[in-house]
Every structure is written in structure tokens, then in C-alpha cells.
């Protein structure tokens, strides 16, 4: 059963936002992608557990772009219509590594408390 991301039970709005940012930045780490691709990948890799809504994905992309962590560019390919591709900028890479570290610490801390063990 697919879980609408925005309707997911994670309570903290900031936490949600933070994790969403982290997901997007991670997905752009190896190559530029367009918005639909990002949404697809999130859904795919979370095995449908997390889905992005258009109304929340794009504002987030624009926000990241504004912070200059990612940069969007219209790209035309022969035989296709133009699409806007986002790539990670240098400062975005920086932020990504920090957020990753922070997230890891956070998850480990939660695990210690809740006693959940990795399989």
C-alpha cells in the first residue's frame, strides 16, 4: 500500500522536510535529473512507501535551487520536448555530506532508544 509522503505518520514537519531535502540531494548526487524522474526514483527506491506530491515536490526543488544547493536548467534533446534538469552544485554537495552525517547520527540515536536492530 503506497503511503502518501505528506500523509506519512512521521510527525515532525521539519523532520519531514529535512528528510525530503536529503532524499532529493542524494538522488542528484550522481547525475542531473528532472522533477518527474526524482519523484519516480523516490517511489521506486522506497518501494512505494514514500510518494511525492507535485504540489510539494516542486516548491521544495525551487527552494533548494534558491539556496543554490541545486541548479535547474532547461535541456532540449532531439525528438523530445525540453525538460528542466536539476544538478547538484558544489555547495549542495557540501550540504549533502553534512546532512547525511547528521541523519545517520539521528537514526542511530533513535535505534539506541527504541532498541530496533538492523536486520
Amino acid at each position: 500500500m503506497a503511503l502518501q509522503y505528506m500523509a506519512s505518520p512521521v510527525p515532525d514537519r521539519e523532520l519531514k522536510k529535512g528528510s525530503a531535502e536529503l532524499m532529493i540531494l542524494s538522488l542528484l548526487e550522481d547525475r542531473p535529473r528532472h522533477g518527474y524522474e526524482i519523484a519516480q526514483l523516490i517511489e521506486l527506491r522506497s518501494r512505494g512507501a514514500i510518494r511525492f506530491n507535485v504540489a510539494s515536490l516542486y516548491p521544495l526543488l525551487y527552494r533548494l535551487e534558491k539556496r543554490t544547493w541545486i541548479r535547474g536548467r532547461w535541456v532540449e534533446r532531439p525528438g523530445q520536448r525540453r525538460r528542466r534538469y536539476y544538478r547538484l552544485t558544489a555547495s549542495g554537495k557540501n550540504v549533502l555530506s553534512k546532512q547525511r552525517a547528521g541523519w545517520r547520527e539521528f537514526v542511530e540515536a533513535i535505534n539506541l532508544i527504541t532498541g530496533i536492530q538492523h536486520a
Binding site: M6, G35, Y36, A39, N53, V54, A55, S56, L57, Y58, P59, L60, Y62, R63, K66, R81, R83, R84
Partner: protein, 899 residues
């Protein structure tokens, strides 16, 4: 597929995004939704289900709008014009244009420098002249409500004096009878010998009515001005000028109450006047002290003695015309009452400002017009440069048009560039004006510059900014319009050099050169006329030899030298000492030197001729001189003899007359031995026998024809009319100044010696205004000529460069160098010829305004017109010959390949 765009756009509407941004978001989101829709269909959903699924994403309650609001920026809502960069915000555009313009200007430093110099010259000249106009014509006089102040004159036009100085009894009657003035005040120039403290000094000063300064609305800087009680004989109080107070009294604020000695009498200092007080004066008269006028009993009864200047303040609500009308009525009444003196004497009321500014006004306005012309020429030049550059930039322009820039946007861009250029020119022009004003001050007539300080004030700055702006628009318009009308296709094609647009550019360039030539022709004609007229003036015969003549004022004190006997003793001793000085050829006593004084005339009775009716009594200028005056001055004696030491108070009274007087009273007869006397036949002054006739001398006015004159020997006059020395020298006159002064002080150590000057300089001062106009117009015309020739040169060079290909073909086909030379020069001359024809017609009309400034030639003087035409033609030929020469050096092979 459903149209998601409309749905998305609806949700963005309230965000107020810029249209471009909105379009981007709509495009991106709709793509996403369309793919979601297709995926849903692929997963087996019906169209309706798929649509519903997709819309649900959008419809999470106002999520999109809310989220985007945090990210996206609202912009001002302006309609978007396609092809622009999305913004039509005028200020944003302006900023962009400015930066772009500045970059373009910096990229072409040679062009920019030439254009800025041309503009700086034009604008600088305008600002400099405007600062003079501003100071002299526009700035109000430093008095209270100066527009109400007038001067009132006796009108004796029938005697040649349309503005005669009123006589005291007339002034008193005017004062009593008028209802149009809040007050009237009289003044009269008088010189004072200041003695007692330091070097004796002769001071210019004035007797004034006690109410004068109240009337002008000028309070004393220190102490007080006069009160009614001061205005009586015997009240010895004095007001000091600011400069005298600074110079002689070291700005001592305790000067009030001090007693100073003027003309041997004690005066109590009651006040110091501010620096700004300047009253109308003749020549170089500069008031340093003021005393109450305190008319004597004799003065208030003499209706024939005219020596006052009268200032009045018109009542609020009364016009100049009404004041004039009432004064005429009063004058007519006085003429009936006192026909002996006042028959046909009217009254003239003139604004004080006009009196102070005088006849410089037309000259200044003409100069202002002339610098305006210079600026026009500079504009034409820069417009030409811009046009030439626009031709080079044609491709750039076409490209921008093709990319969707609107023509109006391009026009604005070009105008911004030209205004930027003009403002740069204006900035440098202001610097030039600052320097120019310094130069102007050195040869502006003192009577003008001292009335009001000439400086760059807010008004001048505003004027400069304004003309810079207008200039930028004027010279930028042609290239801007031209550029924005260029034909896209022609310009973008390779070698599109001979496009219709560039042909049109050539036409505009040609027209600009024609205009430049026409305008500079007008200026040159104007300058030529003034120079010619000035040469006429310089060559006027003043009636005496002005070279090697030193003059000085030696005003005796009436207390110390009350009678002719004592004066003779003093002067005889001074002459004896001066004569022995090395370098002195001769020396004589004189009274009121030519061009330094505008007065001393009287009506005379001639023995054997009945007295004329009162209104037809001609005035004869008289001067009191000593023996040797005529030979020292170089005034030729035509008949009879000079005065000698034997013509004394107790011997037979004699007079020397000038030619014109002789012809008037004794036409065709020998006047020697005839007799005349001052006043009417019945007056009790003694008859004087004519002993000599001398040549006419220009006395009061260098330019006007000499009036009737006569000379008395100072020894036979009761009045103290002899007040100067003239010395003919064999060396540079000024080198003797101090030794002569010492010789005078050896006779009387308290005797002031003032205004030591050469006669050459006095004459040159007398024509200072004419020289001022001539020099300035000359400079402007020269500037115009240079600018115009640069313009002709520029256009011809450009045209030759453009026609290289054609010239190459011609030469390949066998044209000789001389043919090419001829062809090119002919092309230049066609433009110049058209300009000159146009200029000639305009000059015929415009130089008429110069008529009032011209002497001895007419405003359409054919010699000037011809001479100037030749000069302009020669310069024009030269300016087109140099590019033509370059054209002949064209190598046909290279020229053909160049295309």
C-alpha cells in the same frame, strides 16, 4: 489529455509571479502531471480515474500555492512584451541601458573622447556665458523689492539729452507733487580728499538724500544710515563703503564716531555700508563715502544747473507707465511755470536695473545666442559621429531587432547612450566654464562685473544640466531614429553596406554638415562684422594723440585753495618740478579728461547774435585747462593762439573754441576776436574773447560725434574745475608715475594724486564693451569654424571610406588620381556650398540684431560677407581635400578585394 496548464495557472494566479517565471513553472508541472496521467492509464485506470488521480495531487488543499509562496518572489504586475527580456520596468531598463551605454562608450575611447570634448566645449561656453547673463540680467539687484526701483531723468531730447540729470529745484518739485512714488532720493557724485591718516587719498563719493538708503532698503552694516536731520548744510556726517572701511580702517568696528578729514573738513563717521551697495555711475566711479546732499540755498534755486541722479520707488500697484505718465504731467506743469529753464523739458522714468545693466544687454543676449549656435554645431558633429558608428553597429542593431527587441526599446537605448555622452560633456563643460569665467572676468567691463559677482550658482548648474540633457536628446535623436528604422534583411546580408538605411544615413550626415556650415557661417559673419566695427572704432580719431600720455587726477581742496591765485601758485610749482623730470616732454593742467566725465556743459550767449528761445539753446561742453594743454594733448591749434601765463584772473577774459563751435556761431567767418559768455546775454558774467580755434575732440563719448566745445583757462574761473595733470612723455608713461607723484607731494604733502593712467588705457576702457563683445563672438566663431571643419572632415573621410570599393573600380577602369580628387572635393564642396547659401540667407536676416553693436559699418557689410565666405570656403576645401587625397591613394586591387 486534460489541460493541466489551466489548472496549474489558476493555482499560481494569486502569487503574482513574473509571467516568465509563471510560464516556466506551468510548463514543468504540467509535464509532470501529464506523465503521471499516462502512467495511470498504463496501469489500467480509466481516463476519468487517471484524471482524478492526477488532480488529487494538485488539490491537496491549496498546497501548491502555499508552498510556492514561501519560495517564489512576487514581481510588479506589468504587461509583458514579447521579445523584451521580460521586464519593462522603466528603471530596470534604464539601469541596463546605462550600463550597456557606458560599456559601449568605454569600448570606443577615441570616439568618446572626441565627442565629449566637442560637447564640453559647446556646453562649457554656454554655461560660462549664461553665468554672466545670470549675474547681470537675471539676478535681482541687492535691494529690497528691486523691481519697484526706478531712476527719473529730465527729458531734453531736443537738446540731445534724452536722459538729462535733473536740477535740484525740479527734483524738489517732483518730490512734492508726485503721487506714484513711495519716495524719491537724489544723489550727486563728488570727490573727496581724505587726509590726516596715512597717505592722502582721493576718494570717489556722493552726496545723497538722507532717505536714499531707506528707499533702497539697505541697512547699514555698522552704525546707522542718514536720518532727515542729517540733510542740512553743516551736518558733517559720513557713511563709509565696505571696501574703504576694510582698506583704510582695518575693518575696525570702533570706527563709528571717529572723525575723519575730507576736503579739509571734519566729518563724523556714523556708519559702514555693506559690500553689495553699487549705485549707477558713469565710467569707473566707485563710491567710497557718502555724505548728506544738504542742498545749499543757491542750489535749490538754480533750475539751470543739472547735476542730480534721482532714484525713486514706485508705489505697489502702480505701473511704470502710470509713473511715467504722471511725471510727464508734472514736467509739463513745470515747463509752463518756468519756461526760461523748463520749456520742452519732459521726464523719463527707467527701471534701475536697466540703468545698472545698461547697454550690455543686447550684447549679452547676442552672445548667448551665439554660444547656442556653437552648441548646435557641436551637436551636429556628435550626431555625425554617432551616425557613423550606427552604420558600423548596423548588424548589431539588426540582430537585436531580429531577436525581438522593439524599435522603441532600441531608440531608448540609443538615446540613453547619447544623453550619457552629453552628461559627460556637461560635466567637463562645467569645468571648462569655471576656467572660462576666470578668463571672462579679466576682460569683462568693470562696470558690469562689479555690479554683481559672476559665479556658478544653482541656476547655472541647473542650466548646464538642462542643456546637457536637451543636447543629448537633440543629437541622439537622428542616429536613434535612423538606427531603429534600419532594414533587417539588408543589414544582415553580407556586405550589406549600400543598404537603403546607410544611404539614408548618408543623407542625414550630409544635411548635418549643411546645417553646421550654415550656422558657423552666421557666427563667422557676426564675428566678422564686430571685428570690422571694432577696427573702425580703434581707428576713430579722438582728436588728440593718445600715445605717450600720462594722466592723473589732482583734486584740490576748496578750503586749502579757495581762489585762483593760490591754485596757480600750486600748479605753477608742480609744473616747474615735473617739467625737469627726465622723460617728460611737456606737462599741463587739465580739467576732466576725455572719456572720464560726462558733464560740464553750458548754454552761452554770443555777442551780436540774439539769444535763442529757451528750448533751442544749444549746450556747449566746456573744460578748464592750463597753458600748454593743447600741445601736450596733441590737439591741433587751427587758428589763433593757446592760453599763456599772461591770461590771468585780472586780465582780459579769453576762450578757445573747437571747430564745431566756430562753424555753428560764425559760419564762414573768422571767430578770433569775437566774444561770448556763459548763460544769457543779460547774465552778469564777463564777455570772453575768442583767442584760438582747436580741432574737435571726442569728450564724453568715444563713439558719438564730437559736440560743441570750448576751453577756459583755469585761472579765469572761480570754480575749481581744473583737477588733473596731463604729461607727454618720451618714455613709457607709467614709468614716470611715482616720480611725478613725488614732485606733487614735494609741493603739498597732503595732496592726493589719483587715477594715474595712460591715455591709451583710458581710450581702451572707453571701448571695453565693444571689445568684450567682439572678442567673445570672435572666439565663438573660431570655435564654430573648427567644429564645422572637423565635421566636414569627418563626413568626407567616412564617405571616402565607404566609397573605397567604387573608387577602386573607377581607378581600375582608368580614372586618374586628379579625377578622384576632383570628384571627392566636389562632393564636399556641394555640401559646403549648400550650407553657405543657407547661412548667407540666414545671416542677412540675423545680423540685423547686431546693428546696435556696430559702428561705422552696416549689418550687411558686403566686404565682411565676401571675406568670411572666402575664409569658410578655404577651410571647407582643406577639410575635404585631405580625405580626398587619401581616396587617391586607394590601391584598386585591395579596394576591390575589400568588398
Amino acid at each position: 489529455m486534460p489541460d493541466f496548464k489551466v489548472e496549474i495557472r489558476e493555482r499560481l494566479a494569486e502569487l503574482g509571479l513574473s509571467p516568465v517565471r509563471e510560464a516556466e513553472i506551468v510548463e514543468e508541472l504540467s509535464q509532470h502531471l501529464e506523465e503521471e496521467y499516462e502512467r495511470a492509464l498504463n496501469c489500467g485506470a480509466s481516463e476519468e480515474e487517471a484524471r482524478q488521480q492526477v488532480f488529487d495531487q494538485l488539490n491537496a488543499p491549496d498546497l501548491l500555492g502555499r508552498e510556492l509562496k514561501h519560495v517564489e518572489r512576487r514581481v510588479s504586475q506589468n504587461p509583458v512584451t514579447l521579445g523584451t527580456e521580460g521586464k519593462t520596468n522603466i528603471f530596470a531598463d534604464l539601469w541596463q541601458d546605462l550600463r550597456y551605454g557606458l560599456r559601449t562608450l568605454l569600448k570606443n575611447p577615441a570616439f568618446t573622447i572626441v565627442a565629449v570634448i566637442a560637447l564640453a566645449l559647446g556646453i562649457g561656453a554656454n554655461s560660462a556665458i549664461f553665468s554672466v547673463v545670470n549675474a547681470v540680467l537675471l539676478r535681482p539687484l541687492p535691494f529690497k523689492n528691486p523691481e519697484q526701483l526706478v531712476m527719473v531723468w529730465e527729458n531734453a531730447t531736443h537738446l540731445g539729452f534724452p536722459k538729462n540729470t535733473p536740477a535740484p529745484p525740479n527734483f524738489i518739485d517732483w518730490q512734492r507733487q508726485n503721487t506714484v512714488f513711495t519716495g524719491m532720493a537724489a544723489m550727486s557724485e563728488r570727490s573727496f580728499n581724505l587726509t590726516g591718516a596715512g597717505e592722502p587719498e582721493r576718494l570717489d563719493g556722493r552726496r545723497v538724500s538722507a532717505n536714499l538708503f531707506d528707499l533702497l532698503g539697505v541697512p547699514a552694516l555698522l552704525g546707522r544710515t542718514f536720518v532727515r536731520d542729517d540733510d542740512r548744510p553743516g551736518a558733517h556726517v559720513v557713511l563709509l563703503s565696505y571696501s574703504l572701511w576694510q582698506r583704510r580702517f582695518g575693518s575696525d568696528s570702533n570706527v563709528i564716531g571717529r572723525v575723519i578729514t575730507l576736503n579739509g573738513e571734519s566729518y563724523n563717521v556714523i556708519g559702514v555700508m555693506p559690500r553689495s551697495v553699487h549705485l549707477p555711475a558713469y565710467g569707473n566711479w566707485r563710491d567710497q563715502v557718502w555724505v548728506p546732499i544738504a542742498f545749499t540755498n543757491e542750489e535749490v534755486t538754480q533750475r539751470g544747473s543739472h547735476f542730480l541722479d534721482v532714484v525713486a520707488r514706485i508705489k505697489p500697484g502702480i505701473t511704470l507707465k502710470q509713473a511715467q505718465a504722471e511725471m510727464e504731467t508734472i514736467a509739463a506743469r513745470l515747463a509752463k511755470e518756468y519756461p526760461r529753464f523748463n520749456a520742452r523739458i519732459g521726464a523719463t522714468v527707467t527701471p534701475l536695473h536697466e540703468e545698472l545693466v545698461g547697454d550690455i544687454k543686447p550684447a549679452l543676449l547676442i552672445l548667448l545666442g551665439a554660444v547656442g549656435f556653437v552648441l548646435l554645431i557641436a551637436c551636429a558633429n556628435v550626431a555625425n559621429l554617432l551616425l557613423a558608428r550606427a552604420a558600423v553597429r548596423e548588424k548589431e542593431i539588426a540582430l537585436r531587432l531580429a531577436l525581438g527587441a522593439s524599435r522603441s526599446r532600441l531608440t531608448r537605448q540609443f538615446l540613453t547612450e547619447s544623453v550619457l555622452l552629453a552628461l559627460l560633456g556637461g560635466g567637463f563643460g562645467l569645468l571648462l566654464a569655471l576656467a572660462g569665467i576666470r578668463v571672462l572676468k579679466t576682460f569683462i567691463p568693470a562696470t558690469i562685473s562689479q555690479t554683481q559677482p559672476i559665479s556658478i550658482d544653482g541656476k547655472v548648474l541647473l542650466f548646464t544640466a538642462l542643456i546637457a540633457l536637451v543636447t543629448g536628446i537633440v543629437f541622439g535623436l537622428a542616429p536613434a531614429v535612423h538606427a531603429s528604422h534600419s532594414n533587417l534583411n539588408d543589414s544582415l546580408k553580407e556586405g550589406g553596406r549600400d543598404s537603403a538605411a546607410s544611404r539614408k544615413g548618408n543623407r542625414i550626415r550630409g544635411l548635418l554638415v549643411i546645417a553646421e556650415v550654415a550656422v558657423s557661417f552666421i557666427l563667422l559673419i557676426g564675428a566678422g562684422l564686430l571685428i570690422n566695427s571694432f577696427l573702425h572704432l580703434r581707428n576713430l580719431d579722438p582728436g588728440f594723440r593718445t600715445d605717450h600720455l600720462l594722466t592723473m587726477k589732482v583734486d584740490l581742496s576748496e578750503l586749502k585753495y579757495p581762489d585762483g591765485e593760490r591754485r596757480s601758485v600750486f600748479f605753477d610749482e608742480v609744473l616747474r618740478r615735473v617739467r625737469t623730470l627726465p622723460g617728460v616732454q611737456s606737462v599741463a593742467v587739465a580739467g576732466n579728461l576725455p572719456f572720464t566725465y560726462n558733464g560740464d556743459s553750458m548754454s552761452i550767449a554770443v555777442e551780436g547774435i540774439p539769444d535763442p528761445p529757451p528750448d533751442q539753446w544749444p549746450d556747449v561742453i566746456y573744460r578748464a585747462v592750463g597753458p600748454g594743454y593743447f600741445s601736450t594733448m596733441g590737439i591741433p591749434l587751427i587758428r589763433g593762439r593757446d592760453f599763456t601765463d599772461q591770461d590771468r584772473a585780472d586780465s582780459k577774459h579769453v576762450v578757445v573754441i573747437a571747430e564745431k563751435t566756430a562753424q555753428h556761431y560764425w559760419p564762414g567767418q573768422d571767430p578770433i576776436g569775437k566774444r561770448l559768455k556763459p548763460g544769457a546775454t543779460t547774465s552778469n558774467s564777463p564777455w570772453r574773447e575768442v583767442i584760438g580755434v582747436v580741432k574737435d575732440v571726442r569728450q564724453n563719448d568715444f563713439i558719438a560725434q564730437p559736440k560743441m566745445q570750448m576751453y577756459f583757462t583755469y585761472r579765469q574761473l572761480k570754480d575749481l574745475a581744473a583737477n588733473a595733470l596731463v604729461v607727454r612723455t618720451s618714455v613709457e608713461p607709467m614709468s614716470l608715475a611715482s616720480s611725478i607723484r613725488n614732485a606733487i607731494w614735494a609741493v603739498d604733502k597732503d595732496q592726493p594724486v589719483a587715477d594715474i593712467d595712460t591715455m591709451d588705457h583710458i581710450v581702451s576702457e572707453a571701448i571695453a564693451r565693444q571689445r568684450f563683445s567682439m572678442l567673445l563672438l570672435g572666439i565663438f566663431a573660431a570655435l564654430a569654424l573648427v567644429l564645422a571643419s572637423v565635421g566636414i572632415y569627418g563626413v568626407m573621410s567616412y564617405s571616402v571610406a565607404q566609397r573605397t570599393h567604387e573608387i577602386g573600380i573607377r581607378m581600375a577602369l582608368g580614372a586618374r588620381r586628379t579625377d578622384v580628387l576632383q570628384m571627392t572635393v566636389k562632393q564636399g564642396l556641394k555640401l559646403v556650398g549648400a550650407g553657405m547659401l543657407l547661412g548667407l540667407a540666414a545671416a542677412f536676416l540675423l545680423t540685423r540684431v547686431l546693428a546696435s553693436l556696430l559702428y561705422g559699418i552696416s549689418a550687411t557689410d558686403p566686404i565682411t560677407f565676401l571675406g568670411i565666405s572666402l575664409v569658410l570656403l578655404a577651410v571647407a576645401i582643406l577639410a575635404s581635400y585631405i580625405p580626398a587625397l587619401r581616396a587617391t591613394k586607394v590601391d584598386p586591387i585591395i579596394a576591390l578585394r575589400a568588398q
